[in-house]
Symmetry: C2
Subunit: 87 residues, 2 copies
């Protein structure tokens, strides 16, 4: 599965394009975000991706959010892992 890493400064339109492309190819993509700004950009990107690829009457894009623990520079951080599906 493709993994996209989103930051607070990521452009939601660019991320939306990447999500839409991955969903059209594979039907599912994983997105990682650490911090409120990154989580917000991810959600905006998914809402934009819906406008890009959902056709009327189709199943909408669905998201399964969960926590992930990771170590960055020796520091433990908790991030959010989104499984994004279009099936």
């Amino acid at each position: 599965m493709d993994v996209l890493k989103v930051a607070a400064r990521s452009n939601p339109n660019s991320v939306a394009g990447a999500i839409a492309g991955a969903l059209e190819q594979a039907g599912v993509v994983e997105v990682h975000a650490i911090g409120a700004g990154a989580v917000n950009q991810t959600i905006k990107a998914i809402a934009i991706a819906r406008r890009l690829i959902e056709r009327p009457g189709e199943t909408p894009i669905r998201v399964i959010p969960g926590f992930m623990e990771l170590t960055i520079g020796g520091e433990e951080k908790t991030g959010i892992r989104f499984i994004v599906e279009k099936r």
Copy 2:
């Protein structure tokens, strides 16, 4: 459908309990959030709600995020509307 309004200062554990309760009763709940802090608390609350009510092998809680336009005190704002499902 129940509508929960989440703010940046909302307690994710309390919101998780409200989401879990609504999902067990109705299978679906709508959540509104305005701003990065509120969106982040909503996503954390959904991740916590998964731990509260998902049993192994069950379909996970899924989220459909979209934009919503609203007017607050004469000002136009864009928020996020989450449809949260457990079916």
